[in-house]
Amino acid sequence: MTIDAAIGPTGAARRALPAHRTRRTYSAYALVTPAAALMLVMLLGPLAGVIALSFTDYQLGAPHFSWIGLANYQDLFADKVFWTALRNTLTYVVIVVPGAVIAGLAIALLIQSGTSLRSLYRTIYFLPVMATLIAMAVVWEFMLHPQFGLVNGLLRGAGLPAFAWLQDRNTALYALCAIGIWQAVGFNMVLFLAGLVSIPKQLYEAAEIDGASSGWARFCLVTWPMLGPVTTFVVVISGIRSFQVFDTVHVLTKGGPSKSTEVLIHTMYTEGFEFFRSGYAAAITVVFLVFVLALTLIKSRLADRGVHYT
């Protein structure tokens, strides 16, 4: 930006071409107005709105509402369901992020370490990212069926105990985590592949000359440090996406059995769009926002180190 301004027209030059400039400025406003207006109505206004709503007792259909300060938050923090949902969400994030990041990295390294069948593998691993999650969730539900599912069938075949995965409160959340990892791995793999491709070949040659002959030594010396920024980025992106987990929960478990899969966005959905307790649901949204924005800020901090958007 500063460069633009420095070489921009001086006051004198600006006075010299008034007609052009003014016409172009009008055009500029005409060009940005639809976008700016929609941003206000659909994004920034609603964001302010959700924060404001969280301080009210507004319920959809109620004739009046009033400002109740922090009462929603007090109710929320006193509500066991909220704490369960928060704990489940964090558990989900803590399992899915490392799972999807480590698997994504391992697959990317394996694909990149040879030359054959690269694009076939890439396609296969990316397939779950493309497939409608809801449709695949229904498939997973059948695979996890206690009697007729593939998973239990294989376990029985191997002489292992079977589970009622999604109906058992000890396993339901982990089953959802597995589906989450399955769906996210391909996306992370592609980001890692992009990172791997951008590592200069000379670095590996240099490492080899320096005596890093084994693949592991080359990985420690070159690949891992060079992938550092991509890895941080993938971790944060996976974290943000995992925090938004909703689809599989809503279709497969509705937060059950006995709240063992209740997550933040699902609680927000039930309160806001089934019970229409808009104020209370807004307070849940604000809590969710705080977590996601914290993650996003870490990400943009890291991104800003290398890139400047001007």
Binding site: L44, G114, V139
Partner: protein
């Protein structure tokens, strides 16, 4: 590199590991197709077999189409995703051009807001946008599905970054030819930005075809259901224990995007990586 060794152990190990992983990734797809091809009696046998003894794919598809208006739901998916994408481009492209190439008071503020907007997850604005649509009586309509997504701050950001790389000379030459600023957006910048627009298009279509959260919130009517809602309803209300037709329905719903992806996978992966980074 590996020419020196005829059958390197490492190459075999690489394929073994990758094939094992691939089997895990593909298992749900294969099981879906297998189940969709089995008659009811075979679905409910505790003995596992991949290839049906008796093929019932056609019957299951027929039942799926009979129980749910799948064609209508696919059409809804097309209407909604295409409308969203076209409107997103119509709104974002002019703004991106102005932010990249024109000077006006408030440009920095607007761009800062665009960057800020990228940070806001879609679920965060759901309640107020829902209340707004309720207030103006637009819930349960195509408009409710499309309107909130007509603004894509990410699209603006992506295309602005792209326009920054278009030489100013090109813009100046167009001005010399007497083309208005509006004309420049559509006749000069849009053709130059086709790769960025395509990448954004893939991202937008994938995101909105697969979106479940928002349609679930704003829709009531059966005839407006989008593909993900259709599967969920099929499972809850129609399927009961008829997994064959349910798997057939799931196949139909994922088919359009998956087939498009298989045909143009390089494009899709590039598009998603370029734009999915948000």
């Amino acid at each position: 590199m590996s020419n020196a060794h005829p059958i390197p152990f490492r190459a075999i190990l690489r394929h073994v590991l990758l094939i094992a992983g691939a089997a895990l990734m593909l298992a749900p797809f294969i099981w879906m197709i297998s189940t969709a091809s089995k008659p009811q009696t075979e679905v409910f046998s505790s003995e596992l077999h991949l290839i049906p003894h008796q093929f019932a794919l056609v019957e299951n598809l027929r039942e799926a189409f009979a129980k749910a208006n799948l064609l209508r739901f696919l059409l809804n998916g097309v209407i909604v995703t295409v409308s969203i994408f076209v409107l997103q481009v119509m709104v974002a492209l002019p703004a991106a051009y102005a932010l990249a190439k024109l000077r006006f008071l408030g440009r920095e503020t607007l761009f800062a807001l665009v960057l800020f907007g990228i940070l806001i997850p879609p679920q965060a604005t759901a309640i107020p946008v829902f209340l707004l649509l309720h207030k103006i009586g637009l819930l349960d309509s195509y408009a409710a599905l499309v309107l909130p997504f007509t603004i894509s701050v990410f699209g603006i950001f992506l295309m602005r970054q792209f326009f920054k790389t278009v030489p100013d000379d090109l813009v100046d030459a167009a001005r010399m030819d007497g083309i208005s600023e509006f004309g420049i957006v559509w006749r000069v910048m849009l053709p130059a930005a086709i790769p960025a627009v395509t990448a954004f298009g893939i991202f937008s279509v994938v995101a909105h075809w697969n979106d479940y959260f928002w349609p679930l919130i704003v829709l009531n009517s059966e005839q407006l259901r989008t593909p993900p809602l259709a599967v969920a309803h099929f499972r809850n209300n129609e399927a009961g224990t008829s997994y064959g037709p349910l798997m057939a329905a799931a196949m139909v719903i994922i088919a359009p995007l998956v087939i498009a992806f298989l045909f143009a996978q390089r494009r899709f992966i590039e598009g998603i990586t370029l734009t999915g980074i948000k």
